[in-house]
Amino acid sequence: MIMAFHFLGALSHIQKTTTHSTFVFRCHRIRCAAYTSMALSTGAHSAWSRALLRQKPRRGSLRKRTVILQRPRKRAVRLEEDCQDGADVLRRLVPGCDGMDSAELLDETADYIRCLEEQVSLMRSIVNVISLNFNPKS
C-alpha cells in the first residue's frame, strides 16, 4: 500500500506538471516515479533501493542501516565457474549490486524481483481501473 500511495501521488503530480509536455517526457517521468515508489516502499535496507534513491535528489536523509549479514566481509563468496556469467549479468541488472558478493547478490535479486512484480501489478491495476471507469472508449 505504501507503494500505491507514493505512486498515485506521483502520478497526480506528474499530470499537473506535464500538461504541455511531450508523451515521451511524461512517460519517462512515470517510469522514474515507478522505480522511486518501489524503492521508497522498501526503504534503505536493500542495496538496490538505496541505489535507485541516490539517483533522485530527495529531501531529508536516507539513513543507511547496517548490512543484514553481520559476518566479516573479507572473504567473498564465489559461485561455481559456470555461474559467473549469470552472476555478472545480474550485477548489471539489479541496481547497486556492482562488486557485490554472490550470497548478497542472490538475496538482493530475490528482493528486487518481488518488488518489481508488486510494482508491475500495481500499475496494471491502475491502468485497469482508469481504463474501465474513466475511459470507456479506450
Binding site: 497526480s12 572473504r75 549469470g86 542472490l106 538475496d107 524481483i113
Partner: protein
C-alpha cells in the same frame, strides 16, 4: 539471516557454506514463475541465474509498456478523481 557456519569447508577457499548458497538459490528459484523453470529441484544454479536475468528484463519491459499506457491515460483522465477509485479497488 544468521551466519551459519555448520559444515563449513576447511581452509579459506573464500566460500560461505554450500548449504547457504543452495538455500539462496532455492529461494530465488521459488520466486521465478513456474513456467520458466518448472518445480524440478534439479535445475542448475547457472540456469536459475539465467532465468532470473531474463525475468528481470521482461519485468523492466513491462514497466516500460505500462508507463506508456499510463502516459496515454493521464493525458485524458483527471487523476484526482481516478485516485479514489484506484485506492478503493486496491483495498478490496
Amino acid at each position: 539471516m544468521s551466519a551459519r557456519r555448520s559444515r563449513s569447508r576447511q581452509a579459506g577457499a573464500g566460500r560461505i557454506t554450500d548449504e547457504q548458497i543452495d538455500d539462496l538459490m532455492s529461494k530465488l528459484q521459488a520466486i521465478l514463475p513456474e513456467a520458466r523453470l518448472g518445480r524440478n529441484d534439479r535445475v542448475s544454479a547457472a540456469k536459475v541465474l539465467q532465468e532470473a536475468c531474463s525475468y528481470i528484463r521482461s519485468l523492466h519491459r513491462e514497466m516500460d509498456d505500462l508507463s506508456e499506457r499510463l502516459s496515454e491515460l493521464l493525458s485524458t483522465t483527471e487523476m484526482s478523481s481516478a485516485q479514489a477509485a484506484v485506492v478503493r479497488s486496491l483495498l478490496m
